[in-house]
Symmetry: C2
Subunit: 236 residues, 2 copies
Amino acid sequence: MCGICGCEHEHGHPHEHRHASARSVQLETDLLAKNDRLASRNRTWFGARSIRAFNVMGAPGAGKTTLLEKTIERLQEQRSIGVIEGDQASDRDAMRIRATGCPVVQINTGAGCHLDAEMVFEGLGLLSPEHGSLLFIENVGNLVCPAMFDLGEGGRVLVASVTEGEDKPLKYPHMFRACDSLVVTKTDLLPHLSFDLDAFLGAAREVNPKLRSFTVSLTNGDGLGDWCEFVLRSNA
Amino acid sequence: MCGICGCEHEHGHPHEHRHASARSVQLETDLLAKNDRLASRNRTWFGARSIRAFNVMGAPGAGKTTLLEKTIERLQEQRSIGVIEGDQASDRDAMRIRATGCPVVQINTGAGCHLDAEMVFEGLGLLSPEHGSLLFIENVGNLVCPAMFDLGEGGRVLVASVTEGEDKPLKYPHMFRACDSLVVTKTDLLPHLSFDLDAFLGAAREVNPKLRSFTVSLTNGDGLGDWCEFVLRSNA
């Protein structure tokens, strides 16, 4: 366990992260255990209301907010949808979601690098999502830390763009392992890049064979139907 | 101070990160103070050898490794260069740097979200950079946590691509404030995007008026000369 970020610590490698002392390991174990308890409370809360919650993660600029905008546009007549937006600062993402007509709560983490279960629970109190609704929780843009924090969600979605390079699953394996679905965005840019989509998807499967993947262009709508169908089915 | 990630904690906002307890604040203060001491040792080490060290940060896929490859190609006949590569996992970036003929050490952080001064000091022992050389330290791809950890570097470079969206300085202000230079990459993709470069640079200046910015295409080489001249001048 890393004494700085609370993440699981891998020992044994001569150059690996070695902040951890006995005291910090205990502290961080306590903090993660507390988060897990609160995540469990959130999960019960969602279950009691038949709410399907998605924790949407990915690097800054991967297209998380745009994916939510387009998904809301397609699904909001069929299903009640709510959004919790997490960012270090600003309410820009909440303003974008609000423009779709969807209820949204913005959480600012300050210098914090991820959302946690307690923040989400507070957000739920403000949002009051409807029984049977879909809830999207957009995490802070970060391909590292949010992977370690259970929010009580029913689905974990990793958004990654084709401009990020095909080696990302091998370089950030914790996030790719933590998620159950992968949405690859910006496929309209493929003709202008040397990005090898098959190599990327192969690397993602190598790290997490159970990862379900979707490829979309949020500019021209390609692939968005499959993704939206998956979202609806997951909450049937 | 955040009890999870060790980052500076902003109080006062009703929905902000609120992990911090008195115990965790003290622990994280200790950890950051220890890092600052070790960073100071690195700074002395660099000074004694007239080495100019750059801490290169940015989101995953921003183009950090490619910027280093192209910079090395242009400058390695004029100046001795060394690289320390930081990634959660894999030695792919080190392999890419090695292919340029430049000495490189790979540090894997495991689940860790940033490099710290101790890791860099260990890397220096393995790399043994020459007197008067340039050193590039490529941090873990993360627009959040690395901003808080001084490595003893002489320059902090933020690499951001035009595919990430122009709102990033406002959403990740800590990183934009922590850096002294900004390299905006992938400008060759601008014709295919709705990215407003002036708005992005304006937002960056709003957050950090002292930020010196460069715009480059690592595909066609546009703007790379100005950046390389800046690097050389900074170590004249």
